[in-house]
Amino acid sequence: MIHEGVLRHRNARYLWVALLLILGSAVLYSTQRGLRPAGGGTWQGYVLGTIGALMIVWLAWLGIRKRSYSSTVGTTAGWTSAHIYLGIALMAVATLHCAAKFGWNVHTLAYVLMSAVVLSGMFGVYAYLSFPQKLSENRTGGSRAKLFAELYALDNEGREVARHCSASINTAVKSSIERTAIGGGVINQLLGRDRSLFILEDAGDESAKNGLTNNKDQQELIAYVSNRIPRVDKGVEAPNLESLLLILCRRQAVLRRIHRDIQLNAWLKLWLYVHVPLTIALLVALSIHILTTFFYW
């Protein structure tokens, strides 16, 4: 009733179910002796195969059950808990079914796809167990929308203060705000890459011709501004630059949180985009595998 994670659902009853299943399958497998070698062809192999196939269909059915909101067959959390434990048990059942006999054929393809699905699922379990907490800590009680709101407020503040500074500082700050890169494609999100840029007017020759300089983590810009402070010509510049520096550092902190939020979220969600298409492929390969075994008969 009170919050319990998906693995501990109902005192991890599905763990016991899975263990029992693995045990039963192992016992069944061990009864294979005699003329025919162990594998999918014996009656034990057929039984294990049927169990495995039914399990695969039931495991895939979670996608439908989780979207059947009026269903009274258990709860989604219960189904998910069972899905995880029995999905792992599937590896054992399938391996015992085929007695680890592989080749370059559609049957092994089905096995490989199944393993990929289960392994991606295991990564998913790891992701679901560890990332939400990290996400929550990174957000410190706020939300992503709140972080962005903070960022926009800082952007406005920064623009306002920069207006009172020298032209090159103004350009640098404005361009850094406009060219702050957040998120991006899948790889950028996963790696948390920051391709932010800014325009450094009096740059040396390492930078691109239009003055665009790398501003990863806003670091170059901060260095630029902080270097100006002890070198100001007019006294009135210094306090402006100092408050600007403060704003830029706060911005850097918020952006770090946002980047981390995006990165964690990407890892949290991405595996499902691998898990589900592989499952569809598995179902196709499985159907072909089952169909062709009838030809052997």
Partner: protein, 846 residues
Amino acid sequence: MGEKYKIAIVGAGPAGLSAAARAAEIDAKAKRSSPTYILLEGSPAHAKTIQRYQKGKHVMAEPSYLDLRSDLRFAAGKRELILNNWKEDYSRLGIHIRFDAAVRKITGKLGDFLIETGREAISAETVVLAIGLEGNPRKIGVPGEELAVQYQLDDPKEFTDETILVVGAGDAAIENALALSEQNDVWIVNRGKEFARAKDKNLSDVLAAINNGDSRLDCLYEARIKQIEARPNLSPPFSVVLDTAGGEKTIECHRVIARLGAEPPRKFVESIGINFPNARSDAIPNLSSRYESNVPGVYIIGSLAGYPLIKQAMNQGYDVAEFINGNDIKPADFPLVECQLRGLPFDLDPDVMLARFKGRIPMFGALNALAFRELVIESEVRVSYASNADFQAASSRVAKLIAANAAAGKRPRVTRVIREGDVIYKAGEFGTSFFTIVSGDVTLKPIEAGAVESQLHLGEFFGEMSLLSGRPRTETAIAGAACILVETPRRTMLKLMNSNEDVRKGIDWIFVVRELQRQFAPHATFAELRSIAANLKIQKYKAGDVVFTEGQIGDCLYVVRSGGITLTRKRDGQDALVAQIPSGELVGELALMGDPQRRETAKAAVASELIEVKRQAFVELTERGDARVLARLQEGASRRVTDIARMMVQPEAGSTMNFMMADGLGEATDVLIIDESLCVGCDNCEKACAETHGGIKRLDRKAGVTFANVHIPVACRHCEQPHCMKDCPPNAIRRSVTGEVFIDDTCIGCGNCQSNCPYGVIRMEYDAPKKPSLLAWLIAGLGPGLGEEPHYHPTAAAKDKGKKAVKCDACIDVKNGPACVKACPTGAAIRVGPSQFLDMIEERGR
């Protein structure tokens, strides 16, 4: 002048117009050449109060169950339409009406009254006062007032780019100021520090506008106008000097609008010889059932008689004209009363029955006949029968009545026929209605094991506990033989308590007596507890108020009548929350059980009412001789101390509880809470909610507040005393017996509930269009997919129906419980009540 009439009607509002219209029709039927009545109106046009409504205001036609009986038209609609319709009607009927004829004095007696306006004197046999409550607008009372001040605002758009002062802090002043500030610079001159009398929506709107730097509205608090001077040939043309908290201030403005309410016409009414029952400003003169006052021949109808609704006023106008002409008709709501009483075993005139009932209930002695009648009409009447034959006879009578009405397209309330021994309500059920026993007995069985049953008899009442605190019923009520009950809904009861001091005191007192019985002396009788109860005080607290402070010496305990209290202890200079006490429990009881020093500070988490029980009363109560009571109290106290200790050793738990209380969970009964360490953001909860609720989701997962992994999304908490229910005109928001607060389909989309909800959980939305099935979407990609379609396009039919209020209803219609919890794949979403808060928080600590 020598004009003599049978009836002189004073005031051409809906009541007066209706009376005149009826009198005109009676004359027409009798083919009289000259009218036997005259309608006098002080202003130049009819319906002065409604003329003063803001342009375009929507006027409602409550109560919906009452039929209109008048020769004039009336239905809900815009102010302009209603006024126009009346004008057409009274012109068509040729009503004898005289404008600009303000009545200054009425003297004389039945058969020979003299009515003096400024210019003439009119004689009449009878007088009907339909002058309403508005009276003349109150003036500011400062020099220069006549130059610049106006007392009403017809069209806020009339002025542009002016500087305007609005004097007043009530709803009218706020509405005018907000409307004007769209095109003008507006100052509100508020005599006080806040807007205490304003409706919730107006209050939040005006504060938002004042605090918003971009708006053109500002407020001067604790300010009064001292004088107004003209500035000839200058713009703006007036200079206003004000006394403010920060000294004198002068503002130049174009006009001043004073919305200070109106002088009630009480003095004028009393000058005729009419008596009011007391000095309170909301007192209503005593009237007979024909609206005749204590002065024979003078009748009072409309808001002055205590009926502020237009439809009722019009019905009364019709009725009074008939009565005066000697026609003893039944009032327009007579069929309603008839239906209510049809199931009773008496063959008496319903009015006679009502009079008898009223006489049996001492607490209602102060109500006038009309008010009692209205109470019964808004309530449900139940009657129990012992013998099966009687039960069947009554049931078939009532069934015939229902059928006859259904044929005419009506569904009035009818008597509810039950058997002796039937359960009226069960302990643990949610219900907020109040029961009065007009005849027979009722047995109450409290929920606690071994507690004593009590029997209530005619003239007594029950159910007040849930009425006042919003808690579930603490006892089971069983109908005795031949009992007749009047079940009154909460809104009506609260209205009655607010307008009638005797009723309020009576109910408060019984509440206290029964609470004392429940907590301390289950075997004591009412008589024994009566004197103790009379001496106990009920204290009211606003959210955040302190009840007692840590370190004080305490000499009393408190029973939480309604609301919730938090206990905090100082630790390292900080306030750590150590307990949360819901309504129905005790606070500070240890001070009377061995530890006189308060170990915690007690604060009201939400608006609360507490019964204070001092040591002497406590000793008297517990000395009743039942050792079990004291043992139970001590057990409760030691449990409380242990809980507090548990919270003390987990400071994070206290902070989390603090956070939850700050978000208003102190008044929640069923709230959705998400564990952020388990939530993966899949939004399946929102999708499930939308798919089981017509495509509109009732919760916003991402929104809401978070603290230490506890996230409270924006969704209804089913408060103990729901704010949304406060002001629902069609009474569409109700609470089921299992506690869910839901909105039914009689919602008219007025938005009051949305404004009143402090947690922003109610949305006003059109119906969502139907979507293709799940399989069609999964396989063929048809439709927008699961969950609420963002920016959906409602069909023309849905747009016609209008926006209706939608909110979480705890899946009252969905099998197997809340969809959000059942759809969460990781177990992050749970729904809890306050009794589980502590367990939930402690789990985190483990």
